[in-house]
Amino acid sequence: MADVAIPRAKPQMSEDNAWTRLKHNRNWLGFWFMVPAMAFLIFFLAYPLGLGIWLSFTDTRIGRVGHFIATENYEWLWDDSIFWLSVFNTLLYTFIASAFKFAIGLYLALLLNEHMPFKAMLRAMVLIPFIVPTVLSALAFWWIFDSQFSIISWSLRHLGLISQNINFLGDTTWARICVIFANVWRGVPFVAITLLAGLQTVSPSLYEAATLDGATRWQNFRYITYPLLTPIIAVVMTFSVLFTFTDFQLIWAMTRGGPVNATHLMATLSYQRAIIAGQLGEGAAISSAMIPFLLAAIMVSWFGLQRRKWQQGESND
């Protein structure tokens, strides 16, 4: 990209005070423009990130300054079956929910991309689950999955499919299915609408040409839509995986980790240990343990994208 700012002719200045420097030096001015944003990000993001890792090596509790205890928290967690259960739950939750979100989201995007009446209104409606605060829709799901008064149990019972109510959030398997369902429900609109925006930029003439050459609908999708969408799919799915992996509010509103820790994710477990039980150090160790997984997810999508670029022979601009 062309250098945008025009280097001004060096003004003939006898006094080179701070104000003139500010007005004419790009780097100096840029620095001052960055100060507000950087102040927030350093004090409330970078510093806490480091502090969190430090806390995980101490035995800090609420109301008591901690001492350095090296890796004791991590050793303790290593032998903690609930921690490993939460890791397993988190991975299960992330993989299954992301896979469904991707499949249904892509499918919905393809459907919405068709020409049909009330297209704009449909698209607007589809996005509503994404707008509504997650905890509040999770409460609605809590009520829908109630053990006694669930509307799903009622409907299935009246259809003659089951003889007694399903204990949705009380049974370990059902509870996992329910929270994953609620997460997919919340995430599909985001995936669908962003992929739809990508789809709209694919030129229709490509499909016309391919169809004239005898391509089937599947071939149209496989050899035109999918390759052109890959970059945006990678970005969207990275976000989706990251936010699913670190999910907290949905679980907290629906099950609080129960029944018997079957839906405890790492985030909810760290909240429970750190804030409710007061063991800040241990909670920090659990949340720090999420970092390698997150880095791995970022790396996968990053290098996935890079590889695509090389294949397409683009410059790394």
Binding site: D3, V4, I6, K23, L29, G30, F31, F33, A37, M38, F40, L41, F44, L45, P48, L49, L51, L55, Y107, L111, L112, E114, H115, A124, M125, V126, I128, P129, F130, I131, P133, T134, L136, S137, L139, A140, F141, W143, V188, P189, I193, T194, A197, Q200, T201, Y207, I232, V235, T246, F248, Q249, A267, Y271, I275, L280, G283, S287, M290, W302, N316
Partner: protein, 307 residues
């Protein structure tokens, strides 16, 4: 290192797409009507039904009288003929709901304004001043977007406590921008790139300072982008849960989502009506806002992902 996942799609086409009237039939004439019903309308109807059913259920529950809520056999559970506003009355006049609504608004607006101001400066500096290391800083800001609140809330709680901000709305106003700034900076960077820099050249030649260019040329031209960023940030603030849950303690200081989860969930078997009324009342302001700004919202969502 500094190049970020950038797709070839430019923001301009996405922004203009809602207004572009699509007269072309595409290739849909190749499909017969029955085939379209099975492959398009039916799956679409099922998905939309599932996506919207919880809201219908929320709304219905909030206006049902108590005895109908729990007796599914005597009354048809899918409809009610005698709606009651008892639950809303309880919410508005017997709880702190107006307080919570005010807190949420206050926090969301302050945090959003702070973030947008900081982001305008940052995005302008990165895109147009192109100071030394601008690309690197842009990349770091993108990485900051990927740091989730569930990793930060424990150390932030200690920071907030040390600064004496615990249980004060200020704690949220200062911490929310860490979520909002990376997002809105990326969105605005994309937006500023679409503003022709010839305009700035002219202004520079005419002797305008960088500050004048920003305030009188770039910001007015970027108003649609600013609205998008504002709406989206506001929604994110409203939706935020874990910081509000951790940093606030007294009932009257809470934000709507936290308060409804914590204050309405009790052992009462008849709680569902007021709980759903609370959930509905907490969602409606956002849905109304969204209804007015759908296009800005969509462009914010897709824009930030694309850049």
């Amino acid at each position: 290192m500094t190049d970020l996942p950038a797709s070839k799609v430019d923001l301009k086409s996405v922004l203009s797409s809602p207004s572009r009237v699509d007269h072309s039939e595409g290739m849909s004439y190749l499909q017969s009507v029955p085939r379209r019903i099975v492959t398009l309308y039916l799956p679409l109807a099922i998905i939309v039904f599932i996506l919207l059913f919880p809201f219908y259920w929320m709304a219905l529950t909030s206006v049902k009288p108590d005895e109908q809520l729990l007796d599914l056999d005597k009354y048809n559970p899918f409809w009610t003929w005698n709606p009651t506003f008892k639950h809303f009355h309880k919410l508005l006049f017997e709880s702190y709901y107006p307080h919570w609504l005010w807190n949420t608004m206050y926090v969301a607006i302050c945090a959003t304004v702070l973030s947008i101001v900081a982001s305008v400066f940052a995005a302008y500096a990165i895109v147009r001043l192109r100071y030394k290391g601008a690309n690197l800083v842009g990349g770091l800001i993108f990485l900051a977007y990927l740091v989730p609140p569930s990793i930060l809330f424990i150390p932030l709680a200690t920071v907030v406590y040390q600064y004496g901000l615990f249980d004060s709305p200020l704690a949220l106003i200062l911490t929310y921008p860490t979520i909002l700034i990376p997002f809105s900076t990326w969105l605005l960077m994309g937006y500023f790139k679409t503003i022709p820099f010839e305009l700035e050249e002219c202004a520079l030649i005419d002797g305008a300072s960088r500050w004048q260019i920003l305030v009188k040329i770039v910001v007015p031209l970027a108003i649609p982008g600013l609205i998008s960023a504002f709406i989206f940030c506001f929604t994110l603030c409203w939706n935020e849960f874990i910081y509000a849950l951790t940093f606030l303690q007294s009932t009257s200081n809470k934000t709507v989502p936290v308060a409804i989860v914590n204050e309405f969930v009790d052992g009462d078997i008849y709680r569902w009506g007021s709980l759903m009324a609370g959930a509905l009342a907490g969602s409606l302001p956002l849905v109304i806002l969204y209804a007015f700004f759908v296009e800005h919202y969509v462009s914010a969502m897709t824009g930030a992902v694309k850049e």
